[in-house]
């Protein structure tokens, strides 16, 4: 370990509990959240004045808000004054080879079949050792630049592309949208920014994995993606490898905007640490994701595979404002052991002939609770709106729960709303039938799960789908028998 690392390590290791004087020279904000914390973060990031004002507005709104309690999840009250809201990107402990990586994490990489080079990158093995990936990233950046695509960290975007950010930030998820969104708006640390110019079809999947300055974005991530007229982009968030983080609370905000004839496809694989088998530890993932189909004939499609976190609370939504715009939501949410998930979507139909499609597949095992919550809202202006919702639940064993909360608000009856729901169970008889044909419990469950989730997986980019399939089997390991 180098000297500077030692110092950082000491600071991180010992001094969290004491807090710091607010001082721009320092690497950490004082524990707790005050107006000064917000100023400190903004200053640390060299942000322009308008950005600071924007954050402060969010902070003042947050102060007056109450934490929501309507979700079907249970956890001890979070002390928001007990959190450190800014720490300079911590230098990862230098890992020289994969042999130094936590064997449990490595075992999962192997099960997922992640190539060695990629494993190194994920595990944070020092970059010098992964030259191949580096050169890939360089070519990748150059080809994006040629097309005029902007893909950078949001901090960089605030400094370099201020006009764009200022125009769109908060236009889909306003600062005071909800408690966690307000919190995020006040203190967000970093995240991604994407702008696809008119008529450009992004030639590759954009993923955080390749992002320039892919530093630790921390617990309050902020993402903004804009697809200008006639453009297309497919964005991947997260990865199938298990992610550990010492921050218990994660409250991200993602905003998507599509102009006329544009399309954004946003795929997520979320695999944060879910806590141990007894339900201890684990991450609280409270996310606000929303897309605005601003232009005519535009389309936003959310695909998510959620296997991690102790508690997941998220509803990727679409506001279908442009006439003929389309919103889609494809979701697989898995809960095992003591995990809790309350997830779903909102489809807000405002424009004429707007269409939306919801396919939600919940899988609960162990003692977990899995809730689907969906809202379909058809406004008076939305002539001929069409929605189709399919909400399926699969139970493994009999100690888990699945709950469905569909809400409909229809103010225009020229259209059509269809809802289908099923509940199935992998019980003893089903497993015995599969055993009798020569399949082990694990093989049987993974076969059934893959059949069950096919409709969602087919919307994921190819390699991602294969990994997601394996990930599901791993998450459910030991859930039967």
């Amino acid at each position: 370990m180098s000297d500077s690392d030692k110092i950082i390590d000491e600071v991180v290791g010992n001094d969290y509990k004491y807090g710091f004087v607010t001082n721009i020279e320092q690497e950490f904000a004082e524990k707790g959240l005050t107006e000064n914390t917000v100023r400190f973060i903004s200053a640390k990031k060299n942000e322009p004045e308008w950005m600071l004002e924007w954050r402060l507005k969010a902070f003042r709104a947050w102060e007056k808000m109450e934490e929501p309690t309507w979700q079907n999840v249970h956890f001890p009250k979070i002390n928001f004054q007990d959190i450190i809201y800014y720490a300079a990107p911590k230098k990862k402990k230098e890992i020289k080879s994969l042999d130094d990586v936590d064997p449990e994490i490595r075992a999962t990489y192997d099960k997922l079949g992640i190539p060695i080079q990629e494993q190194k990158l994920l595990a944070g093995v020092a970059v010098d050792y992964v030259m191949d990936s580096e050169s890939v990233i360089t070519t990748f950046r150059e080809s994006l630049k040629e097309k005029g695509i902007i893909f950078c960290s949001i901090s960089e975007a605030i400094r370099e592309h201020g006009t764009l950010v200022r125009k769109y930030l908060g236009s889909v998820v306003p600062q005071r949208d909800n408690y966690y969104a307000a919190l995020n708006s006040a203190v967000f640390s970093d995240g991604s920014f994407v702008y696809i110019p008119k008529g450009v079809r992004c030639p590759m999947e954009l993923s955080t994995y390749f992002r320039i300055n892919a530093e630790n974005t921390g617990q309050f991530e902020r993402t903004l993606i804009i697809a200008d007229e006639g453009s297309y982009v497919s964005y991947l968030e997260g990865c199938t490898a298990p992610m550990r983080d010492e921050n218990q609370l994660h409250a991200a905000v993602v905003e998507l905007i599509t102009h006329d004839n544009a399309e954004i496809k946003y795929s997520t694989v979320q695999n944060w640490y879910p806590g141990d088998k007894e339900g201890k530890g684990g991450i609280y993932n409270f996310v606000t994701k929303r897309g605005m189909c601003k232009g005519v004939n535009s389309k936003i499609s959310w695909t998510q595979v959620e296997t991690g976190s102790a508690i997941t609370w998220k509803y990727p939504s679409c506001i279908l404002k442009g006439d003929n715009s389309i919103g889609e939501f494809y979701s697989v949410a898995v809960t095992n052991n003591y995990q809790q998930a309350d997830t779903g979507t909102k489809m807000i139909h405002i424009g004429k002939n707007t269409r939306s499609r919801i396919v939600s597949k919940g899988i609960s095992a162990g003692k977990s609770q899995n809730s689907y919550r969906g809202l379909v809202q058809v406004h008076g202006t939305a002539d001929n709106a069409y929605n189709f919702s399919q909400c399926d639940s699969l139970l493994i064993g009999d100690k888990c729960g699945a709950h469905t909360f569909p809400y409909l608000e229809i103010k225009n009856n020229t259209g059509k709303v269809e809802h289908e729901a099923t509940t199935s169970k992998i019980g003893e008889d089903l497993l015995f039938y599969c055993n009798q044909r020569g399949l082990t419990d694990e093989e049987a469950v993974s076969m059934i799960i893959n059949g069950y989730c096919k409709e969602v997986f087919q919307h994921l980019p190819m390699e991602f789908a294969v990994e997601a399939q394996k990930l599901l089997s791993i998450s459910l390991e030991g859930s039967v028998g």
């Binding site: 099923t422 199935s424 003893e428 008889d429 089903l430 015995f432 039938y433 599969c434 055993n435 009798q436 044909r437 020569g438 399949l439 082990t440 419990d441 093989e443 076969m447 059934i448 059949g451 069950y452 096919k454």
Partner: protein, 251 residues
């Protein structure tokens, strides 16, 4: 092939099979008949390795191995097949995908490479003709929305695919219409050979006109009380079980 000695089995603390004995040699077809609730399905499930069935005493040797020591999936890969009285539905999994997994699990067990798509399809084609099953059934979710008879036919199709050594048919004939009965029985007959044995559980002699058994056993109160040739089934059909009951009570 199969040797069951002094087998006593309890379910939820209740003894169902009592000191049960049966010997089946390779290539033989044995039929078991008997009134409702005498333990025929319990015997089938015990042989297949269902967990809730508690073996209190006795032994079962299958192809020289102790069957009772193996888990259900291992028994299946070793060549025990049970055509269920009540086949279950598997949502979202087609018969094709199910069979691909099952056939390859067995091949792996035997140290063979998985079948490639072409060979697998060829095999599906051949075997589906055996029980005259329509191709469209194979791409539908297993047993979901199948009629009673279709489910039974699908069981025999799976049996043909897995090429087991011991085939246990639990009331495969009930629920079949007259044509289907003939088709299924013909399918079974085509699978008969010198290495493969059958244990056919049925209530009706009619099935045995098609699948002609080497032995017929009558089961009563958890054990075999009478054995004979195919003519025993005819007598049971004509006279019912009362005379067997009387004979048993006299002893």
């Amino acid at each position: 092939m199969l040797s069951i000695k002094n087998l006593t089995v309890a379910v939820n603390g209740k003894e169902i099979l009592k000191d049960f004995n049966l010997e089946i040699k390779a290539g033989e077809v044995h039929a078991i008949m008997g009134p409702n609730g005498t333990g025929k399905s319990t015997l089938a499930a015990t042989l297949a390795g269902k967990e809730d069935y508690e073996v209190l005493s006795g032994e079962v040797i299958f192809k020289g191995k102790n069957l009772l020591e193996m888990d259900a999936d291992e028994r299946a890969r070793e060549g025990v097949f049970l055509a269920f009285q009540y086949p279950v539905e598997i949502p979202g999994v087609s018969t094709t995908n199910f069979m691909k997994a099952a056939v390859n699990a067995k091949r792996k067990h035997n140290g063979l490479e998985p079948l490639d798509a072409k060979d697998f399809l060829k095999m599906m084609n051949e075997k589906s003709q055996l029980v005259e099953i329509k191709r469209e059934f194979l791409s539908r979710s297993i047993n979901e929305g199948f009629s009673g008879g279709e489910k039974k036919r699908n069981e025999i199709f799976q049996m043909a695919m897995l090429e087991p050594s011991l085939c246990i048919l639990d009331e495969t004939d009930s629920g079949l219409d007259i044509d289907a009965l003939r088709i299924v029985a013909n399918g079974v007959n085509k699978l008969r050979n010198a290495e493969r044995s059958f244990l056919v559980i049925t209530h009706y002699q009619r099935l045995l006109n098609y699948i002609v058994p080497d032995f017929v056993h009558v089961m009563f109160g958890g054990r075999i009380v009478k054995s004979g040739g195919k003519e025993l089934a005819l007598k049971l059909e004509a006279e019912g079980y009362d005379w067997v009951k009387e004979e048993v009570e006299m002893i």
